[in-house]
Amino acid sequence: MTDIADRKERPQHRARQAPPEPAITGPIEATAQVCEAAGCLSLGSEQVLDAVRAQAVARGLTNVAIKRVGCLSLCAAGPLVEVPERGQIFESIDPSSPASIDRVVDALAGGGGGRPTAGDPFFARQVRVVLVRSGRIDPEEIDDYTAHDGYEALSRAVTTRTPGEVLEEVVRSGLRGRGGAGYPTGLKWKTVAKADGAAGKYVICNADEGDPGAFMDRSILESVPQQVLEGMAIAGYAVGANHGYIYVRAEYPLAVKRLRLAIRQAEHQGLLGSSIAETSFEFHIEIRIGAGAFVCGEETALIASVEGRRGTPRPRPPFPAQSGLWGRPTLINNVETLASIPAIVGRGGDWYRSIGTEKSAGTKVFALAGRVVNTGLIEVPMGLPLRDIVFDIGGGIVGGAKFKAVQTGGPSGGCIPAADLDMPVDYESLAQAGSIMGSGGMIVMDETSCMVDVAKYFMDFCREESCGKCAPCRVGTVQLHLLLDKMTRGEGTLQDLDTLERLADMVKSTSLCGLGQGAPNPVFSTLRYFRDEYLAHIEDRVCPAGVCPMTPAATS
C-alpha cells in the first residue's frame, strides 16, 4: 500500500474557514502539530491552529506546515502545540494572545522557547505502541494514517497470511484484554474462530469507557480512529467474521464523529467493506451509540444494548464467543486491545512479547489524573514501578503535597498506598495488592482525600449504576452506601463496620456480573490499607482529612 491516489474524491475537509497555508516550495522544514483532541479543543485549539497559520503566513514563512493532530498527551497543559523538528512542545497557548502565538511561530522559523521534549521524563519514560501515531497524524485524514504504515498489517495479513497464522501471532504476543479483566486475547480469538459460524459471526469493539477518571479509549478513538478499525478488520479476518460493531458512549461526540469519518474514508479506499485490499475478504463496520449506562461495559449487557434493549447482563455461560450478538459467536474486545493488534500482526508477536513482563506482555495506556502535576495520557511498558509513573512521568503531587494513594480500576478497583509505591504495575502485582489493572484510569490522591469518603463515592456510583437485575447488587450496594454514609456523618459503630465487611463479602460473591462483584473492592482495599481512618470516623468521630461532615451523633 504505497500510493493511495484518488485525492479528488477525498471526503470532507474541515468545515470551518481555515486561513491560507504558508507557501510550500521545497521539503517541509518544520511542522506545528496542534492537538485537536477533546481536551485541547475545548480550550480553543482550533483557534490556535488558525492563529498560528495566519501568523506564519503574515511573517512570510515558507516550507512550514501547521496541522491538526490527535492527543499530545500532556493534557494538563492544553492547548498544546508540538514542533517536533525543534524538539519542543508549547503549553497553554492562548489563541487570543499574539505573544503566545508568536512563540510557536518563532519555533517554526528556527528559534525556540518551548519546553524541550528530549530528556523530559514525561516523554522519555513512555514506550509507545498503541499511541505511536497519536499526536503525529491528522485523525481526520486516512492518507496521514497510511503514510505512517497504517493498514499495512491488514493488507499484508489478508494477502499473504492465513487466518490461522494471524491468530497464532496474537496468541504468541501474550496480549491480554485491556478492558480490565486481562483475559488472554489470543485464547478468546481462538474460541470464536473455532465456533460454528454458518449463520455469521461478529466482532464488537467495546468503546463504552465508563470508569470515572478514565479517558484512554476516548483519546485513542479521537487520535487514531483508523488504527482501531484496522485492528477490528484483522480480528474479523482471523476469527472469520464479516461484520463489526463499535459500541461507543454518547458522551464522546468527537470520537463518534471521527469514527464515522474514518469508516467512510476507509471504505472509499477499499480498506473496509467488500473486497478488502482487492481480496475476497469483506468486513463492514457500524457504529452503535450508548445512552449513558455504565453496566453496558459488561459484555452481555453491551450486546443487549446493541440489540436495542435495556442493557442488563445475563448469566454466562454461554459466553459471547459461543452465543453473542443475535445468538451468533461474537468476539468482544476493548478499544486499546484492538488498537494494539496492527502493531502485533505487523511487527510480530515475539516483538510485542519482548516488551513488559513475562505474564503481562506489552504496554498499557493510562489516564493519569487527580492530584498529580502532569495530568495526561501515558503509555508505559508493563512492569514499570508505580513510583516512576507518579513521580517521574507524573511529576509528583500538585503543590508538592504528600502522596497518599493511587486508585486504579475505577469502581471495581482499589487503592495502592504509599508503602507499595515501588510495586511493578502489571496484572498480577495489582491483583496481589487488592486492586485491579482495570481499563487504565489512575487517580492520584493526596492528604486532602478521605478514604472512607472515597469508598462511599465509588459505592454511590455502583448504587446508581446497578441495573437492578440481581438482588445482591441492587440491594447490597444501597445498604453498603448507607453504612458508609453513616460513618461519614460520624454515626457509625463498630458493629456497622462488621456488617459492612460481611455484606461486602456477600455482594462480591453472589452478584451476577462484574459490576456487583467488583463494587465492594474499594471498600475492601480502603479497609486493608486505611482501617485507621475508618476507626477514627467511628471511635473518635473525626475525619482525619477533614472531608466528611461528621455531624454530631444524635444520642449517647
Binding site: 479517558f215 449513558g292 436495542g308 489516564a367
Partner: protein
C-alpha cells in the same frame, strides 16, 4: 414486526420528517430503538409519552419495551428541559478536585439538584459520570461547551451569564 405504519406523527412539527427519514434509513427494526430515541430527543429535547407510542408503532416494539429502554438509560429524559443545560462532572478526577462544592454552590443559588430544572425554567442541572475531561477537573459543561478547573466563584459568574 408490524405492517406499514399508517399512523401520523404525534404533531405536525417538521422535525418528524427528519426522524421518519432516519427510521426508514435504519430499517424498521427493534434494534434501531436506542438510535431513534436519540434522534427524537435531539429534535424535541425530551421524550413525551405520545412520542414513545409513535416510536413503538414505527419500530414494531411493544410500548412497555420502549418505555423500559427510555427509562433505563440515563441520557434519555421524559421531562422537558430548561433553556440552558449545566452538567457538572462527578467523575473521580473531578470528585478529587471538589466537584461537590460546585453542586452545592448551584444548589445554594438556584435551589436545584442534579435532574432538576430551576423554577423559571432557565437552567437544567445534570451530573455526569465522567466526561473524560479529567485533565481539566473539575469540569462543567454549559450548553455543550466544556469549561475546566471551575471554582465555586466561577459557578457564580457562569450562572450570571445564563440569566434570562
Amino acid at each position: 414486526m408490524t405492517t406499514a405504519v399508517t399512523d401520523a406523527p404525534p404533531t405536525d412539527d417538521k422535525k418528524w420528517k427528519m426522524i421518519d427519514a432516519r427510521i426508514r434509513r435504519r430499517g424498521r427494526t427493534p434494534d434501531a430503538l436506542i438510535e431513534v430515541l436519540h434522534s427524537v430527543q435531539e429534535a424535541f429535547g425530551f421524550l413525551e409519552t405520545d412520542v414513545l407510542q409513535y416510536v413503538s408503532e414505527a419500530l414494531g416494539v411493544p410500548p412497555s419495551r420502549v418505555y423500559g429502554v427510555a427509562t433505563f438509560y440515563s441520557l434519555f429524559t421524559l421531562k422537558p428541559q430548561g433553556e440552558h443545560t449545566v452538567v457538572v462532572c462527578t467523575g473521580t478526577a473531578c470528585y478529587i478536585n471538589q466537584s461537590s462544592a460546585l453542586l452545592s454552590r448551584i444548589h445554594d443559588r438556584l435551589g436545584i439538584s442534579p435532574g432538576d430544572t430551576s423554577e423559571d425554567g432557565s437552567v437544567s442541572l445534570l451530573s455526569a459520570r465522567c466526561l473524560g475531561a479529567c485533565s481539566m477537573a473539575p469540569a462543567v459543561v454549559v450548553d455543550g461547551s466544556v469549561q475546566g478547573r471551575v471554582t465555586p466563584q466561577g459557578i457564580d459568574l457562569l450562572l450570571e451569564g445564563l440569566r434570562p
